[in-house]
Point group: C2
Chain length 318, copies 2
């Protein structure tokens, strides 16, 4: 009901009389007044003028489902959005929902995380209200061994959305860090549950530094605000990310992994660079020359030997 009132007010642009809203939403004018009061308490700026009615002015700066859903336009992603002011980690909550059978496209998002997760057991700084911290549940028809595809796909989707919406030129560092220059802007994390021959679900976690100042972030980080000088709407950016992720997910389903790899290569800051890959299976140093068909990084060492890595940390050298 709240969602309907907000969407109707936002769509109208100008004033709407209580009677008009009442007719459209099918609740009493007293009921409308009660919901409007609630919305104002949640931070909505809605003016009420006698004889004119209600007018929407602005929404609170929060990733509320009602805001994300407004003109989202996706078919799968975000049909069910669970929003939290604070939680341990969107990954943990989404994974549990996945275990319990939550449907494909379910999104968990939060204003802040007390134990935000990064790759390889690291943490992800999650200052309150300053970033997008979200996890998306997907149930792809993939073999477990092909799950890397979704990790790389997600980095492509996020990188494109950020670049388009914020007019910056972020690049992907293998496998899935989103950097501006050598500063981290966003990160992708995936966690999956699989049987031998099929994936049950995968949770794609996306962390984006949006309106944080550098003092709120770890070293070697940046935010969109720091890059552009402007505070941007996290809601609209999150919508862009969901649309981009859905678009690329459809590409994978229809045309396979090749177009994803092709686009990943275009957005990569790793290929062509001299790198060191730090990995438990042995460090490798050389030129990052290619991505193989599974998303593995091919490095050519000083002896001309080509070595493949499926995991590890990349350091760009020189």
């Amino acid at each position: 009901m709240r969602n309907k009132i907000v969407h109707f007010l936002k769509s109208a642009g100008g004033y709407l009389s209580g009677e008009e809203i009442s007719r459209h939403i099918k609740i009493s004018r007293a009921g409308i007044w009660k919901y409007i009061q609630e919305l104002r308490e949640d931070g909505y700026d809605i003016v009420a003028v006698p004889h004119l009615g209600y007018r929407y002015l602005s929404s609170p700066d929060r990733l509320l489902p009602v805001e994300i859903l407004f003109e989202l336009g996706t078919k799968i992603l975000g049909k069910d959005i669970r929003h939290f002011d604070s939680l341990t980690s969107t990954m943990d909550v989404a994974f549990q929902l996945g275990v319990e059978g939550a449907c494909e496209g379910t999104v968990v998002c939060a204003e802040s995380q007390t134990k935000g997760k990064g790759r390889l057991g690291r943490s992800w700084a999650s200052p309150k209200g300053k970033g997008i911290y979200m996890s998306v549940i997907l149930r792809p028809a993939l073999l477990p061994s092909d799950l890397t595809q979704l990790t790389l796909l997600s980095s492509v989707a996020v990188c494109e959305a950020v670049n388009k919406f914020c007019n910056i030129a972020a690049k992907i560092k293998w496998p899935n860090d989103i950097l501006v220059g050598d500063k981290k802007l966003a990160g992708i994390l995936t966690e999956s549950s699989a049987e031998m021959d099929r994936v049950r679900f995968i949770v794609v976690g996306i962390g984006i530094n949006v309106n944080a100042s550098l003092s709120q972030l770890p070293p070697h980080s940046t935010s969109i605000k720091n890059e552009t000088g402007q505070k941007i709407s996290r809601v609209v950016l999150m919508q862009e990310v969901l649309r981009s992720l859905e678009r690329w997910y459809a590409v994978l389903g229809k045309d396979g992994f090749a177009p994803v790899i092709a686009r990943w290569k275009q957005l990569s800051s790793t290929l062509g660079h001299h790198v060191r890959v730090i990995d438990p299976s042995g460090d490798v140093e050389g030129e990052a020359v290619d991505l193989d068909e599974n998303g593995g990084l091919i490095i050519r060492d000083d002896n001309g030997l080509k070595i493949k890595r499926m995991s590890g940390d990349v350091v760009h050298i020189g």
Copy 2:
């Protein structure tokens, strides 16, 4: 305390006076009497004779942790055993325990399952008290793409344990059905939780038809009782399986996958046979000629072309 009393009585072989038990376990003789009564109610046959004391005669036919732990001798597997009279599926319970951080080697077992799981969404018949229905949580240092190794390893471990303990000649049908002739005796199911570059945990599910009669099982099934004509101890067989699984798990950790593959090939009923692999990525028919280094089945079709399958159902033809 119960465990200590049972283990002490079983080790003794003959009569133990209340005083001896009291000294060994460090509780009062009245306390011992209370525990003995409880054990009898649970189905233990323990005689009490004035001036002689207590004597253990037999245990109930249940997979009780106290029984499994008696002289088990493993280092990792079975240190924590959760036993249920009935549950939906040991897989679901163990997976949830894995999510919550249960330690490596935790075992979930049950007398019966209401939704016993088989491969590819199928069910596993679980008549009460007639089989071994267990799931083991492992936390291997493997890449997600290498998890197939544990599926094949488990089939080797179970096949060896069954053959040794029951003196039968069960074989493995790719990837991990345990058959006697063309009848299914046992099945392996694995479910895993992984990040991009590391496995969080894998649950190895093992179902063995032990003392069931054929009328209690689906078509094309057999049980150990049906094969040998004898009712065997599920407890002792479960111990053998845990020991065998731990032994092969140690081999994988120390020497890698090659020795597992070598043993799998010896126990296989698939290699050398004319087979059809039914698989969403396309059915294949031909001679099963080899297992590749990742556990994939290599089929040579009528044109001499070698085709690899990582999933699917094998039908032995002719």
